[in-house]
């Protein structure tokens, strides 16, 4: 199988062409350094992404708190993760770094808050 990549590790943006089979790179060209090879290997055989989104907040000054995964998760789990956090609600106040979900979907990554949302003062 053949595939083309634009390496996004650094601003050089090498256009890399690769021939590969199950779990193995047979031929690679276009990468100026080893990091390009690592990038392509990861992208082909175990791609991961950090995900950012938001969850609802009860009694907060804002209706949402932004969140992120504490580390990248396998790419194929992205939509499962979105489903998992769709129904979550947290109670204000929320602080940056608060763990919203521990070890989400068994990925080893936590969902953590990336914004401070204060409690709404009832008038």
């Amino acid at each position: 199988m053949k595939k083309k990549f634009i390496c996004i590790v650094c601003p050089n943006g090498c256009e890399i062409e690769v021939r590969y089979s199950e779990g193995e790179i047979e031929k690679i060209s276009g990468n100026l350094c080893e990091r390009g090879l690592d990038y392509v290997k990861r992208e082909l055989f175990s791609p991961e992404r950090s995900i950012t989104s938001s969850v609802e907040v009860r009694n907060g000054l804002l209706p949402l708190v932004s969140v992120k995964t504490s580390k990248p998760i396998p790419k194929e789990r992205i939509f499962a993760l979105m489903d998992e956090i769709a129904n979550i609600e947290v109670e204000a106040p929320v602080r940056i770094g608060d763990v919203i979900v521990k070890d989400v979907l068994g990925t080893g990554a936590d969902i953590i808050a990336t914004k401070n949302v204060d409690k709404r003062v009832q008038s």
């Binding site: 634009i6 996004i8 601003p11 050089n12 943006g13 100026l32 992404r49 950090s50 995900i51 950012t52 989104s53 938001s54 609802e56 804002l62 209706p63 949402l64 932004s66 992120k68 790419k75 992205i78 939509f79 979105m82 940056i96 990336t114 914004k115 401070n116």
Partner: protein, 412 residues
């Protein structure tokens, strides 16, 4: 009406204003007023919940809210005074600022002003898309605000015009939230966003990118029902016969940002017709003495880290001005030559180290940025890959700038 005086007024509490305020305070000025029209500090970073901020400054990829909080915490810790929900209505050449605040109308007489108002999005009217005027047409940043801060989903079947970074990031955001993103349409032969975003926002989710295409019609009565896209020729004119309809309920526009300089003009600040920001010298001072500019109001940036660093310089310069320590001897012109769209600063003194910022006209490979004074070449910077979407910055030491008559920066 309340009247008051301050040493430094900073207009805009986004990343530029925050950083300018902190730098001014650290330079020994206590009498600062940071003026923000929104209900919280942080500016656009409030809604930029994606990652990638702070790689240069903090060495980690933070989200927008995390990045801004570090600076807001600093402002609080340094006890820098700020006003929220306060809109500046006018600035005059005497540096007198009229602010509409919940308290009252306030006249602030400032010794120095830092302009940090940021930029706003280009709209449908400015790019003249024909068609009906249904609901469902948003600028990408407006849609980002609604989904990320207000919890409103703007549509289910989305077409995005423009492949700038905000457009790309919104494509991914809406896909993750369950919408169909049918197409990203770009009039240029290349994406105007960072390659990282093309890969991780479009390719990851199989969202098609139509290069050399534009939207030629919007149809729908109450709500957008479909848009028509067409291929464009070399002069970006739609080619007859290439039209195709895309059924959708929402059109997002990510078609450029314009520095928000209405206030600057009132103060008599001269603007650069290319950047739409002010003309500045190496201290980031405008043609009006004591008025400085930084961040997206000066020129549109792609990385907030660069905004922060630029704003630090503006804050330091404003502080030096107030203390009577700022020497303005910048009378050497810096010109954008072949292949360069613009370069900042516009004027230098030749007596200090200078950091230059520039953008190229077209994407290319294996080029050199050449800095010359007439025939004399001061510096050559090899670039393996250049892209208009990536601002290029470099420093030149004062030793090299001695006796310079005028600088031209060009591509070779």
């Amino acid at each position: 009406m309340i009247e008051r005086e301050v040493d430094i007024a900073i207009i805009g509490g986004g990343p530029a204003g925050l950083s300018a305020a902190i730098a001014a305070k650290k330079s020994g000025i206590d009498d600062i007023l940071l003026i923000e029209r929104n209900e919280s500090l942080g500016g656009i970073l409030n809604q930029c919940i994606h990652e990638g901020f702070g790689i240069e400054i903090f060495g980690e990829a933070l989200t927008g809210p995390e990045y801004m909080q570090r600076f807001i915490d600093k402002v609080e810790q340094l006890k820098i005074p700020y006003m929220l929900n306060s809109m500046v209505l006018d600035i005059n050449e005497k540096k007198c600022i009229t602010v509409c605040s919940p308290e009252d109308l306030i006249k602030v007489k400032a010794k120095a002003i830092v302009l940090a108002m940021g930029c706003r999005e280009r709209t449908r009217g400015q790019i003249c898309i024909p068609g009906t005027r249904p609901s469902g047409i948003y600028t990408a940043g407006c849609a980002q605000n609604l989904i990320n801060l207000k919890n409103y989903m703007v549509g289910k079947k989305i077409v995005i015009l423009g492949s700038g970074d905000i457009g790309l990031i919104m494509a991914r955001r809406f896909k993750l939230e369950g919408a169909e993103v049918l197409a990203v349409v770009e009039i240029l032969p290349y994406s105007s966003g960072l390659p990282r975003n093309v890969v991780q926002c479009l390719e990851d989710y199989d969202i098609p990118l139509y290069l050399r295409h534009t939207v030629v019609d919007i149809r729908g009565i109450k709500r957008v029902e479909e848009v028509v896209i067409a291929e464009v020729d070399e002069k970006r004119r739609p080619i007859k016969g290439t039209e195709r309809r895309i059924e959708c309920d929402t059109l997002l526009l990510s078609v450029g940002l314009i520095p928000e300089n209405e206030l600057s003009k009132m103060a008599g600040v001269s603007l650069d017709p290319i950047t739409n920001g002010s003309m500045v010298n190496e201290n980031l001072e405008t043609n009006v003495k004591g008025i400085f500019a930084c961040g997206n109001v000066l020129h549109v940036h792609d990385l907030v880290d660069h905004v922060t660093l630029e704003a630090e310089l503006a804050g330091e310069s404003a502080a030096a001005f107030v203390k009577g320590e700022l020497r303005n001897e910048s009378n050497i012109k810096v010109t954008a030559g072949k292949g360069i769209r613009y370069v900042l600063p516009h004027l230098i003194s030749g007596k200090n180290d200078v950091k230059f910022s520039l953008r190229v006209m077209y994407p290319d490979r294996d080029k050199k940025i050449v800095v010359r004074d007439g025939e004399r070449i001061l510096k050559k910077i090899p670039k393996m890959r250049i892209n208009p979407s990536e601002m290029i910055q470099f420093n030149i030491k004062k030793e090299y700038l001695k006796d310079v008559k005028g600088l031209t920066i060009e591509l070779e």
